[in-house]
């Protein structure tokens, strides 16, 4: 098995763990962390293809991951601020009870 295949397997496993966590946890913070894990899996794929791909003279993979890191950090900051706002209004962070906007 080539290293690229192993990297793809790791990445798909990490994505699956993040997806399962985001779908089956009821806590808003844990859902955010699951989404972060999925973003990390995508970054891992970028680096795998950058390292083991055919065009080795380009820095595009690393630069893509850098910007993805910046956006992921922004997403974490806004998401956790939203969690704090939800907590202020309903005194817990359970997503199943955040139905205030439901029509």
């Amino acid at each position: 098995m080539s290293p690229l295949t192993v990297c793809l397997l790791i990445s798909s496993g990490l994505f699956g763990i993040g997806l399962a966590g985001a779908l089956c946890r009821g806590n808003a913070i844990l859902v955010l962390l699951g989404i972060e894990l999925m973003l990390n899996a995508a970054n891992l794929n970028f680096i795998a293809f950058w390292r083991f791909g055919p065009s080795s003279s380009s820095a595009a993979g690393v630069i893509f991951v850098l910007f993805a890191l910046a956006v992921a950090a922004a997403e974490a900051a806004v998401g956790l601020a939203l969690v704090l706002a939800i907590y202020r209004h309903q005194r817990n962070v359970r997503l199943a009870e955040a139905v205030r906007l439901k029509g």
Binding site: S2, P3, L4, T5, V6, L8, L9, I10, S11, S12, G13, L14, F15, G16, I17, G18, L19, A20, A22, L23, C24, G26, I29, L30, L33, G34, E36, L37, N43, I47, A48, W50, R51, F52, G53, P54, S56, S57, A59, V62, I63, L66, L69, A70, V71, A72, A73, A74, A76, A77, V78, L80, A81, L82, L84, R88, H89, R91, N92, R94
Partner: protein, 173 residues
């Protein structure tokens, strides 16, 4: 080469799975710190040193601290609400979530195993100096946009998390 990658994979996937399965949020965050460190180790292994240090700074340092602060700030005081109803187990939802995760991971892994992958070229050499030149040269516009996004996020997070001015000091809504 492969043994190191396997060790990193075991630590990464194991820590992530444990973090997603635990109930205690603080323990989850600490296990995720281990998973993110393993990802930084992967970046080091793949030759992207700058990314490894960025990963350590951003995820292991900043995001984990923000998560821990969010956990502490949203922790229910034990005497304010004495009997919070425990969330229902939701076995069906957990099963569905795990099934969706396994399904998607299986499809992606199968695609990765069966599709023809490009042959590996020589290991790319990327010095931090060249990365900086690329960032400030060809990707300068994207860098500026990223800076603007981060500034807006900073302001937006403060606005979202700050108490409403009309609220009573101890939230009564």
């Amino acid at each position: 080469m492969i043994p190191v990658l396997t060790a990193i994979a075991v630590v990464l996937l194991g820590a992530a799975a444990v973090a997603m399965a635990l109930r205690n949020l603080i323990h989850c965050a600490l296990w995720l710190v281990l998973a993110w460190s393993a990802l930084a180790a992967f970046y080091l292994w793949a030759g992207a040193e700058f990314l490894a240090f960025a990963q350590v700074l951003i995820y292991v340092g900043a995001v984990s601290m923000v998560v821990l602060f969010a956990v502490l700030l949203t922790r229910r005081l034990p005497d304010v609400n004495p009997a919070p109803p425990p969330p229902p187990a939701g076995g069906g939802r957990i099963l569905a979530g795990v099934a969706a995760g396994v399904l998607v991971a299986g499809v992606v892994a199968r695609a990765g195993l069966t599709s023809p992958l490009p042959a590996a070229g020589a290991a790319p050499v990327l010095t931090t100096r060249r990365l900086g030149v690329e960032l400030m040269g060809a990707h300068a516009g994207a860098l500026v946009v990223a800076g603007v996004i981060l500034t807006m996020v900073l302001i937006g997070a403060v606005v979202l998390a700050a108490p409403d001015s009309g609220d009573a000091p101890e939230g009564d809504s």
